[in-house]
Point group: C2
Chain length 440, copies 2
C-alpha cells in the first residue's frame, strides 16, 4: 500500500501493494538503487527493474529501448507491442531506398504543415480533405479532443488509459464484466447517455486491452441513435485493420452526415510505424479547423514521407498482403492460447489477447522476460481490471508466436510462486466456451 | 483588400491587398486554379503559386516540399530556412550508418516517453533532469506554455509569430522601431511590466525576424529585476548558437533559482534537424510536471536517436567545428548584404538578416525564385513590420551564400516593377551606419 508519505497519483503509486515510482515529486517512498551489473540480474531483479521502468515511463508500458538500456540484450521478442511486423518490413524496404540527398533534405527541413499533408492523404483514406486532421500519433489528437471538451466524458472500462488520463472534466464509466467477456452492451451505454447527457462518449472498436468487437451495423445504429444527445462521439478504430481479412470497416464515411462523430485511427499498429508518430481523426471541418490552429509542424519528416507512401498503389497492395498474413498468424496464436494450462483467454478481434492468470501478472511477465527474453504487457495498472491477474499478449511473426506459446506454456506449467489468493483461484476457466465465442 | 464576403482571419486574408487564401472555411474570395503545367510557369505565376501555398500552410512560410510539389525542380537554394547545413551533414553521417535492424526497431516501436529521454539528455544540456521538458519541436512547448497561461502576454513586435498566434489571452505589444534598428529597449519593457503586470513576458534572443541581440548580462539583470512581477518569463534562445564563435550563453542555469524563468530552445536551427521535430524548455519541476502529463509519446524515434547523439563527445566536437564554420560564413554573407544596392540590412546576431527593400517583397521573392531558384522569406505577413517591404534571408553554405548574393544583386539592380510608393522610397538607407552597428 502507498505509505502515508506518498501523495503521488501516478499509475505506479496507485496500484495497491506495488513498488512506488520513486520519480514523481510527490512520491515519498524510499529510493531503491537499480542493480549495478545487468549481467548478474536474476528473476526478482528483472521484476524490480521492470517496475522501476514502468514508473519512469510516466504512463503505459516501458519501451523496449528503455529495457535495452537497463538490461542490454534481454528482450528477444516484444509481445507487449501491438503492431504488424510484416507491415513494418514493407515500410523498411522503401525507407532504405530513399536517396541520400532526399534524406538529407528530410532531416534538415521543416516538414509541411499537417493541413497540407492531409490534403494529399484524404483521397487515400476516402474522406474529404477538410474532414481529416493528421496528428503526431493518435495520442496527440486524443489529448486535444478531450482538452477541448471539458464536460462529462463517458467511457467503458477497461479501455485504453489515455482516454481516462487526458479527460479534462468528470469521467463516467460503464464497467465491463469479465463474466461477460468484457462485452460492451450498447443498450446499457445508450441508457447512460440518455440519463446523464455526457459531452463526449468514447468507444474503441475493437477494444483495448481485451480485443472485444462491436459489429459494424450495431455501432452505426448506436451512433445514429445517440448522435443528437452527445456533442462528441469518438470511435477509435486503431485496431480495426486486424478484425477481418476483408477490407476494414470504418465509420469515417459517416462523418460528413454526422457532425458529432469523430473517428480516430492510429497508423502505429496497422502499419507498424509507431516510431514515426502518425495518427489521424476524421471529423467535421469545424473540429479540424480548431485543432489545425493549435499545432505547428506537428508531423515530422518521416511521417510526411510515409503519408506519401500510403498513396502509392504498389505499397497498398503489399500492405494488404502483409495485413492478411498477419491476421492468419494472429488467429493461429489465439488458437494456441486456448491450449495453455490454468488461464482464460478472452475473445479478441484485435492483434492481441487478454489472458487471465492463476498467479500475479508481474510473476509471469518477469519469468517470461528473464527465462525466455519475451516481453508481454502486465495489466496491473489498467483501470477497470481486477488487480494484477491479467497479461496482454500481442501477435508477432509466426515464428515468434511459436516461441511466445512455448515460453508461456513453460512458465504456466510451473507451480505459481505467488498464487493469487482471491477470486481468481475460485474461477472456473472456461476455455472451451471462450474458443467457441471467438470472432472471425 | 478583402472582399465583404471574406470573413477569414488567416494571415493571407489579413494582409491588405494580398491574394486571399481560398482554403479556410470563411474565405469568400473566388478560387483561382493553379497553372496546370509547371514547366510553363512564368514569374507572375511563380508569385501567384507562392501566395497560394502560403495560404495553404496555415501560418509561416510554405515548406520546400510544398514548393517541390507545386513546381518540381524550382528551388535550388533554400535561404528561407534558418538552419546550419554543416550541422545537418554531421547528423547525416551518423544517420546513414544506423544498422538495418536498429532502424527497423526505431520505425516499428514506440519511442520512450519524453521524461525518459530528458533524463539522459539533461547532463549534456547542463541542467537538472527534473527541469528539462523535451517537445515535438519548440513550437509544441511554446503552444503548451501559452495555453496554460491565459493571462496577459507581453511581446515585442516584430517577433516569431507563433507566440502571438498561440496566445490564450490578451496580448500586449511593445513595438520595435525600424528607425532604432528594431533594438529591444529593456527599460521600456520593464516599465510595461511594472505598469501592466502581465502573466507572461516573451523575449527571443537573438530576435526573429531581425536577429537583434540583447547582451547576456543585460538580459540576466532584466530577468532578475522583473522576476517577482511576472508569473512566466520565456526566453527563447533558438538562435543563440549563431551569436558568437565562443560557447553559447544561456539563461538555463538560472532556472533552479528563478522559478518563473522558462528557457526555450529549438534544436532545428542550431543542429539542422527540423525534420526530426525536437525542441525543449528548461523550467521549474512544477512546470515540467504539468507538460509531461499532457503528452504521450510526443517524440519520434529519430528525435530520440538524435538525443543519444547529443551525448556523444565525438559528435559534440564535430558539431562545434560546424557551428564555428557556419558563423564565419554567415558573417561573410552579411558583409555582402551591405554592398547590395537600394536596400537596408538590419544588424543581426542570428543566422539570417532582415533586408528592407525599395520594392515589394513579393516581387523580389518571386524574381529570385523564378530566375535563380533561390527561396527567401517574404515578411509581408509579419505583425509589427510595415507592409510588404521586408525579406528575411538565411545563411547557407559558403558557396550557396555566394549564389544568393549574386541573385539578390541581379534582381535589385533591375528597376522595380512595382516600386513602393510610400515611406520606404523616402527613406535614406544608411548601410554605412548599419555596418558599423553589426554585432560580433
Amino acid at each position: 500500500m502507498p505509505t502515508p508519505f506518498c501523495l503521488c497519483q501516478c499509475k505506479m503509486c496507485r496500484v495497491p501493494g506495488s513498488l512506488h515510482c520513486h520519480s514523481h515529486p510527490n512520491c515519498g517512498a524510499p529510493r531503491h538503487r537499480p542493480p549495478t551489473s545487468p549481467s548478474t540480474l536474476a528473476e526478482p531483479q528483472v521484476i524490480h527493474t521492470l517496475a522501476r521502468l514502468r514508473a519512469d515511463s510516466g504512463s503505459h508500458a516501458p519501451s523496449v529501448a528503455q529495457l535495452e538500456c537497463a538490461i542490454p540484450g534481454l528482450v528477444q521478442i516484444d509481445a507487449c507491442f501491438l503492431a504488424n511486423p510484416y507491415a513494418t518490413a514493407e515500410v523498411m524496404n522503401r525507407l532504405q531506398t530513399i536517396p541520400a540527398a532526399q534524406l538529407a533534405r528530410m532531416v534538415a527541413h521543416y516538414p509541411s504543415q499537417a493541413s497540407v499533408i492531409a490534403s494529399s492523404l484524404a483521397p487515400h483514406i476516402g474522406v474529404p480533405a477538410e474532414c481529416l486532421h493528421l496528428a503526431n500519433g493518435a495520442s496527440e489528437v486524443i489529448a486535444a479532443l478531450l482538452a477541448n471538451s471539458p464536460g462529462r466524458l463517458l467511457l467503458s472500462l477497461p479501455t485504453f488509459s489515455a482516454y481516462h488520463e487526458f479527460a479534462a472534466g468528470p469521467v463516467m464509466t460503464l464497467q465491463l464484466q469479465d463474466s461477460e467477456d468484457f462485452r460492451l452492451d450498447l443498450n446499457r451505454l445508450e441508457a447512460m447517455v440518455r440519463r446523464a447527457s455526457p459531452q463526449t462518449v468514447v468507444i474503441i472498436n475493437p477494444n483495448n486491452p481485451d480485443g472485444g468487437l462491436i459489429p459494424h451495423a450495431e455501432l452505426v445504429g448506436f451512433v445514429q441513435r445517440v448522435h443528437s444527445r452527445v456533442n462528441q462521439i469518438i470511435i477509435d478504430e486503431s485496431f480495426s485493420h486486424f478484425a477481418s481479412e476483408t477490407p476494414p470497416m470504418s465509420l469515417a464515411p459517416l462523418v460528413p452526415d454526422l457532425p458529432h462523430l469523430v473517428v480516430v485511427n492510429s497508423l502505429s499498429k496497422s502499419h507498424g510505424i509507431a516510431g514515426f508518430r502518425l495518427g489521424y481523426a476524421v471529423m467535421s471541418p469545424e473540429r479540424v479547423y480548431v485543432l489545425r490552429h493549435s499545432a505547428l509542424w506537428n508531423l515530422n519528416a518521416f511521417a510526411e514521407w510515409f503519408c506519401g507512401l500510403l498513396g502509392d498503389p504498389e505499397f497498398h497492395t503489399d500492405y494488404e498482403t502483409a495485413r492478411r498474413r498477419y491476421i492468419r498468424d494472429t488467429r493461429a496464436l489465439f488458437a494456441g492460447f486456448d491450449e495453455l494450462p490454468n488461464v482464460k483467454t478472452y475473445p479478441s478481434a484485435a492483434n492481441f489477447a487478454l489472458i487471465e492468470l492463476d498467479r500475479s501478472a508481474a510473476e509471469v511477465v518477469g519469468a517470461l522476460l528473464a527465462r525466455h527474453g519475451i516481453y508481454v504487457r502486465d495489466c496491473a495498472d489498467k483501470r477497470g481490471l481486477d488487480g494484477r491477474r491479467f497479461i496482454r499478449v500481442a501477435a508477432r511473426t509466426r515464428e515468434e508466436n511459436r516461441s511466445v506459446l512455448h515460453g508461456l506454456r513453460s512458465v504456466l506449467e510451473q507451480p505459481p510462486i505467488h498464487p493469487l489468493a482471491t477470486a481468481v483461484r475460485q474461477r472456473q476457466f472456461r476455455s472451451d466456451v471462450v474458443a467457441s465465442a471467438r470472432f472471425g
